[in-house]
Assembly symmetry: C2
Amino acid sequence: MELDQVITSRRSIRKFKDRDVPQEVIEELLDLARYAPSSMNGQPWFFIVIKDPETKKELVFLKNKYCPIEKQDYQADFLLHAPVVILVCVDKERSFDREVENAVLATAHLLLAAHSRGLGAVYMSAYRAGDPRLTEDVRKLLGIPPEVEPITLIPLGYPDENPAAKMVRPLAEMVLHETFDK
Amino acid sequence: MELDQVITSRRSIRKFKDRDVPQEVIEELLDLARYAPSSMNGQPWFFIVIKDPETKKELVFLKNKYCPIEKQDYQADFLLHAPVVILVCVDKERSFDREVENAVLATAHLLLAAHSRGLGAVYMSAYRAGDPRLTEDVRKLLGIPPEVEPITLIPLGYPDENPAAKMVRPLAEMVLHETFDK
């Protein structure tokens, strides 16, 4: 699928068909994710592929428990019905102080790769700056050692919703020249 | 250009031809960048398009000044020869505590879009967690108000180098199933 079309037609998907995602398709997505740029080309990623319903249940519980008040409209319960959840983690030693950036870059590739194969996904965080509780609980749940940071959490599956094209803010409001002077 | 090919053939480019990038191509890239996902769909981006050689010189000075010891191999001088530099910023109020993530997601799109048009680019940071000095100096240089955070800095131009395909770490070292247990 052509890049521009992948980018402009991708939407966040939170409803999934009851249909498994073949292992080889999951591997295609992770293969493309690891081509993301990374600080000092450290390629620090670990991708934990989660299908166990009990683990998903715990992840929903933790995401809802630590959901900030202003984001309560985005409850995590739908994650239970995602056939696959990918937890994107980074090895701190390979991250060169850029844990979040490195994980998010691979996640961006993963989201585009998923959409290009007809899969739906949505960006979720496994981490919050200044509040380690969610990260620590996810770490405990999945046996993640202290030198590895879980950063994003991506539910994946075949979409059971078909959202309209994304409304984007006018580019003219976002583009500035030479300085911030509007 | 097809997504998988864009992803797997993209490299970081730090040598640019002395050839301007047409304004309409820059706008195509920014158009695609703004389709990135963002927290609460806040679409918080500002893109400052910088061509002024004096500003580039100041950016080089600041990047080198705050470059950590372990990254001294990556001096920023090459940025002087990039015909365009895009500073990706986010409006804090629209970012919902996800400033870095929102900026990095748009930057990932920007890097892929650039490569798909035959442009070279490289990911650079305008920010460092826990050390506001670079951000503050960039803010002063470009008149960026306190409610807007500069996050990434992307030099762009037609490549004057042709690096070999990226060596990626084996996927088997990165993929885990259900838990972190290797």
